[in-house]
Subunit: 248 residues, 2 copies
Amino acid sequence: MRNFKLVVAYEGTNYHGFQIQKGTGLPTIQGVLEKALSTLTKEEIKVIGAGRTDAGVHAKGQVVNFYSQTKIPIEKLPLALNSLLPRDIAVLETKVVPPDFHASFNARSKTYSYLFYNDRIRDPFWQRYAYHIPVPLKSIREMERACQIFQGEHNFRGFCASETKAKRFTRTIYACSLEKVEKIIKLQVTGNGFLYNMVRIMGGTILEVGQGKRKAEEIASLLENGDRTLAGMTLPPQGLYLLSVEYD
Amino acid sequence: MRNFKLVVAYEGTNYHGFQIQKGTGLPTIQGVLEKALSTLTKEEIKVIGAGRTDAGVHAKGQVVNFYSQTKIPIEKLPLALNSLLPRDIAVLETKVVPPDFHASFNARSKTYSYLFYNDRIRDPFWQRYAYHIPVPLKSIREMERACQIFQGEHNFRGFCASETKAKRFTRTIYACSLEKVEKIIKLQVTGNGFLYNMVRIMGGTILEVGQGKRKAEEIASLLENGDRTLAGMTLPPQGLYLLSVEYD
């Protein structure tokens, strides 16, 4: 029995998120991956994902692991799997890892990005991949300052969907930055863990700073008081990407 | 009655081409545009397109014109129309033009691009926007030479789908070039007119040159003898873009 690690990319538009939703029949990334792996190995494969992405959220570097007795050479796995997967999911890398490797528990950090498309007219080629902001943003500099305030260890209760089952809300953000290239504004966040909708609420709050509706400084008090109703909107899923998962 | 010119972008994946297919109920760009324009103006609007793009083909700068008595200020048209159009179609520019302007007859030239995604593993984010070539291409230089041979006035009967209704096959290619940026190879062609599937067959032939299946020089004789069965494959639609239409 070997433990396999896969790096997977997917366009999340047509999926109800990463995690299997038992009994619903809804298409999920995990469900499609397990089906392809089970077909290939002729075993009943269960995959462990590093992070649960929500419906419509994309991944450029999701990580999963699974156990199998398959004798298929490791270097043949990506092409063999991709021939069984739909075109909006692709296995990018495969590796045999130690038996105790767990894609989620062993993750040291994860990096997400959120893309805004900022132009008066929407672009049909970005509609699935970025959130359209039709009005000019007042200050990218102020948004950058907002990003800086998020860095470090904080209680993120105020930046977590109220329907969460989490009990601890302290997370460390190692990096949070903003980059503007032509009409695309890219928010990138690396942290040791993320609460439900956390990046989308952080992004919604940073956006409101860019729109001049809030001052960057406000974020410190939002982190302080932990009231979800005071932070910004939850951004829609199509701008969000799980970029990578980092391990020691 | 004014004559309006629109520049339109669309992601063609979900459409059965530009042109209305009467009685079929199939979604087309022209059908959706006419419906939005008729709703907005409360008139029965017919649009004239510069070029008919096929099912699955994209446009970054399709041009259409239509006649209307609407009093809506011209600068308000793009946003008003875009609010009525699905998210995979957008009106980028609007202009009032002389009564005799005809989007198709007055077009001096059109520019198309075709995108190849060249990497062993497919990318889910390019699956709708480029044609995946999993094997390394032997020579981009040889493909560039093939492009050069297409330039000028030629009989393109051998580069036209056999089910064409065209009677004249002479067309002038003003520019044909290739550019490689990371994993994307972009073929760009400007000409005074294009036959049915012409760019996709040119691209298929240039690709075979890149794969070492043909010499660039062969293209001269393919143009000479005009036999469709001797030219390359018709590339799939998802890599093709109508980039722009040029007028005097």
